[in-house]
Symmetry: C2
């Protein structure tokens, strides 16, 4: 009797989110039960609405409510730059920085042959098509510096290589406000190798 | 354009859970969008079902799908003990311990006059009625040892005082596996005062 089937199903649902363990899922479920019904109603409604209204932009694969997405559709974006990111959330992180006004391409995954993510899964053909169409002057590989990220950047820089354009990646270094003591050896080594005069 | 109204509403909904900040809420929302539609459907459904089917047991105020709740309705529970907890989630934590077979009473809040939580908000009258009805031999105050918890235990022990019964509370001490070094002064002082021969 401890957890009813309905409650168990809800806890199970919450714990399918990344970073939400069973204990947190239980806490969320109890909060939901204890709150006013209108809270649950509104939440269930937005979950359904959002899930039904977002799909990949046919050009850049960003999840969006419109197709093409607002960025691909915009006339004011600079089409000479394409920034390649792992997922749609990354687009919002970069947009918030307020530094970049080019296009994006969302891979959806990083290369990881062991897990079954090869060139097809990262939509390499569609990326190539987009690059051919726009002939950008710069392609920015804004992927995370992990082993999968590095492998993906290596692969993409090979298939997209062309004399007419620059292919760049984000620098690795100490995080702002980060202590040397708490930085990984890899981070420190990279920050060291890329040291520059002040 | 950064966040559409629908997405904003969903993020807003997630961040109303305690312990979920805006960044986590965004991450949950993006995960939901990126997952298969069936995930969102199932989740929205369980949220609605659970929220509609749970309400307070008219006897002990625990949130439950049946009224009386399974514990109040059970013939095998020991009615000579009543354990008083802050909220319904606490009932499950104590049940999981597998040590207790008595009844519960769920206050819903701790006393906190500044925040508007007085005797009425903790359902003191209904608690008194339940105690009169069962005349338990022991009332266990399983509330957290915070200032609100202490104030509530003090108040309840006064209104429930009776020669015929024991009123107990959980002991304060070092957490199992906890270092002295990381224990608060209050915890250590209590553990010290309650030291016993080994």
């Amino acid at each position: 009797m401890l957890f009813s089937d309905n409650l168990e199903r809800l806890i199970e649902g919450f714990s399918r989110f990344p970073g939400i363990g069973r204990k947190t899922a239980q806490r969320l479920a109890w909060h939901l039960i204890a709150e006013e019904k209108s809270f649950a109603e509104t939440l269930a409604e937005s979950i359904t609405t959002v899930s039904e209204s977002f799909r990949p932009c046919t050009r850049c694969l960003m999840l969006s409510e419109s197709d093409p997405c607002p960025i691909c559709a915009s006339k004011s974006r600079d089409k000479s730059q394409i920034c390649i990111v792992e997922n749609s959330a990354d687009v919002f992180i970069i947009e918030k920085m307020n530094e970049y006004n080019g296009l994006y391409f969302v891979l959806g995954h990083l290369l990881s042959p062991i897990d079954g993510f090869g060139p097809k899964e990262i939509h390499a053909d569609q990326l190539r098509k987009m690059v051919e169409e726009h002939s950008p002057q710069e392609i920015i590989l804004a992927l995370k510096p992990s082993s999968e990220g590095e492998a993906t950047m290596h692969y993409l820089s090979e298939i997209l290589e062309d004399e007419s354009r620059k292919i760049t990646r984000l620098s690795i270094g100490l995080p702002f406000g980060g202590d040397l003591e708490y930085s990984s050896n890899n981070t420190l080594r990279n920050a060291w190798a890329r040291r520059h005069s002040v």
